[in-house]
Amino acid sequence: MKQIEKELVIIGGGPAGLAAAVAAYDKGLRDILILERDVALGGILRQCIHNGFGLHRFGEELTGPEYAARYEQQVKERGIPYMTETMVTELRADRTVVARSAAMGIFEIKAGAVILAMGCRERPKGALGIAGTRPAGIYTAGTAQKFVNMKGMMPGKEVVILGSGDIGLIMARRMTLEGARVKAVCELMPYSGGLARNIEQCLNDFDIPLLLSHTVIDIHGKERLEAVTIAKVDERRRPIPGTEQTIPCDTLLLSCGLIPENELTAQAGVPMDRITNGALVDGDRQTEIPGVFACGNVLHVHDLVDYVSEEAAIAGEAAVRFLRGESKKSILVSVKTDGKVRYTVPQILTEAKDTRLYFRVSDVFRGKKIVLKAGDRVLLEKKTVKLAPGEMETVTVKAEWLSELAEGEISISLSD
């Protein structure tokens, strides 16, 4: 088996991996290698051909492939090495990476530091436990997106979408523009998990009904999908008898959540956060295994790619400081949440410096205050108009609070 050594190996050449590579390079590191399993850099953005990316990062509205191309160009301008069609099959706690490619066969890389940037996958139908038959015509929204946008193929003509995540909303518009009829978008929860503007421009623009507190309870059709039965659900998400209606359709698209792709992470023994399904990290996005960092959707599912790039840059720079022995780990503060705030990233703070906490809430809340406390001491109160699970929020923890913190933990909560 071929063996090579690299200072920094980045697993994944999507938006997170590319931004991490650029940040590490700009911090002075040269011995970098990006490993990407697909035929080209860019990750899932390559198939997200809709606009709406890059307002934060580039101050203009880009489509997915354009956003990816900006970073790809930065990587190429800097001459950062990358390998496409290269699949990482194993990661060990000693930062050994085993990968496979046509040029190298099965090979091993001894890495000084590793950045995990593998992204996420969609929750499949099987995980939803929907009863019924198993005909053709049931796809996750992302699979349909690949067929439609990358291959120019039409998965179907009469569509029902389950789940109102952003990809589902985007695909409602894409399918409509390409000539399909989207009959309904059903959402199990009483609110949508997608962005308000996507409901506006992807559903309302085309008079596609969004049925909140509805789910698919039965699937019909032996060979190709013929219909789905939907029903309203109660507050415990159980179908309400008598509310069933059967909608003829040949396609069911699922947009029911994204799951970070952490199989390699788990294999390496990296401790995980049960809520995010990603690694536990500190402000540097360093996991509890020294020299192993994580960023982007493999760490926690983001709403905007701009935040992915931002987070990846933090990890990229921190990896360089780690390699140079400059990481100063002085304190250890864990961040506790109250359930209304579901999680934060980072979950642990190890340096007394200004740190932005990214978090998501568990429900739609109006007029709440975000409260940051150390013990009973209130560090910060921030008023909000509306908080929703589909949107990531941030709050900044100040260095001066951390340097004089005796408690070893701070808490973040919502209050009236």
Binding site: H50, P65, G152, L177
Partner: protein, 117 residues
């Protein structure tokens, strides 16, 4: 006094806007916007709404390449734009920004490639 509620689509924040009109249908106020772009959007949305269209065009090589309208086009023209996009052919090799259709559906707006192929 008439009122209309909108969701601003200019940025991911998606502000909930309330637009008020006088008796003549002229906008008197816009509320709920977090930035000035919200006012501009509200005025446009209530008079001549516009959208960016994104889709794909078949290339001579048989693949499809992602495209968009270079700027927004009138909302009522969206399906007319799609009709021209569906009929268009792009060259085998295309770069981001290449013009695929010059003046799509009489809007004066070009359709440009958003991916390299």
């Amino acid at each position: 006094m008439k009122e209309r509620n909108l969701t601003c689509i200019v940025c991911p924040r998606g502000c909930a806007l309330t637009v008020r009109f006088d008796g003549a249908g002229k906008i008197t106020s816009v509320e709920g916007n977090a930035c000035k772009r919200g006012v501009v959007y509200a005025e446009k949305e209530c008079t001549h709404p516009e959208r960016t269209v994104t889709s794909t065009v078949r290339t001579e090589g048989g693949a499809v390449v992602a495209v968009k309208t270079a700027t927004t086009v009138p909302k009522e023209k969206v399906f007319a734009v799609m009709k021209e996009i569906n009929a268009a052919r792009a060259p085998r090799s295309v770069s981001i920004g290449d013009v695929i259709i010059e003046n799509v559906a009489g809007t004066g707006v070009a359709v440009v490639a958003t991916a390299n192929i």
